[in-house]
Subunit: 190 residues, 2 copies
């Protein structure tokens, strides 16, 4: 079918939805982030890209640390709230039960099925955003989210984000084995 | 409940699954990528992080361009195949119907519901990966994927990835309005 041009401000479908945590003005603060991805395999690093005007940025710059927390569906209203209000005017330190790992300045959320504490290793300055790249120094979960020792997405029950329609989406059915279901596909050998 | 430490090589749940395209050795090549995120709002930029040994990397460095293509579920076997074989030994230029937009060296996939052509603006060198940051110069879809002029994830029907269990997942039910469902949540004013 015919391709049509759409807004170049296009997004990934769907985006993961996490809460980024940092100590800002001596208090834990959390913001909702959909622009997040792993960026290095070994050592494990993760990147979050935050608009430059966000309250969280100053805390990450100052403490050189942040956390990435993957929430389950039961937290969706709290997560959305964290995306609606800024730490400049709202104290978000009491919304969750906060804990710390090895880093003393990367606040994590006990209610979240997966929490990663990150040491800032690089910032990439871009026109309207700052990309914070952190090394994952520790990752925390609970036995109830594991199956055969591995994190189980159906137990985590996370949700995803689409923009610009601004909707959240549950995870659906299993769709097959990665690095597996394509094995029947053949192509020309060079 | 009690938190337990898990492998620090932890991942985002779930990751988007896209095909990154580039011209390598004068031919279109496509690789499966789950480490992808928007990284700048204005101008729109997207980042993909590729292990340094991938065949695609040389092409992006040489042409200073790449594409990001969001596949629908009906392409899942072909996408997985692109993740199983390397362009070093397999010619992946014939798997899809390739088209070009304004850039003449960012091959896009006609079968994909959303395609973004990107001009390389920055590379971030990391220990085992290279993060390629591109400005989205054009985005392409079809009328059949739009609802009220916006991309509709249920029509796109993409899939997501989890690691390290290496599974694909469909998108599930709508879970609410982002920047909306948290409005009832109150907190302490500063």
């Amino acid at each position: 079918m015919e391709k049509v041009k759409t807004d170049a401000n296009a997004f990934v479908y769907p985006m993961p939805m996490v809460l980024a945590g940092a100590i800002v003005d001596d208090k834990p603060n959390f913001m909702a982030v959909g622009w997040v991805a792993r960026v290095n395999f070994n050592p494990p690093m993760i990147g979050i890209s935050l608009g430059k005007t966000h309250y969280t940025n100053g805390g990450i710059h100052q403490t050189q640390a942040f956390s990435v927390n993957v929430p389950g569906m039961e937290l969706i209203e709290k997560v959305d709230y964290c995306g609606l209000v800024t730490g400049k005017t709202a104290d978000k330190s009491q919304i969750f039960d906060v804990f710390f790992g090895e880093l003393r300045n990367a606040p994590m959320i006990r209610e979240c099925p997966l929490c990663m504490e990150c040491k800032l290793v690089q910032t990439v300055d871009m026109p309207s955003n700052t990309l914070f790249i952190g090394q994952i120094m520790g990752a925390y979960t609970e036995e109830r989210y594991l199956t055969d020792g591995k994190l189980d997405i159906l137990k985590i029950n996370p949700f995803t984000l689409t923009m610009p329609d601004n909707q959240y989406w549950a995870v659906g059915r299993n769709a097959g084995k990665a690095w597996g279901i394509g094995k029947n596909w053949k192509t020309l050998k060079r």
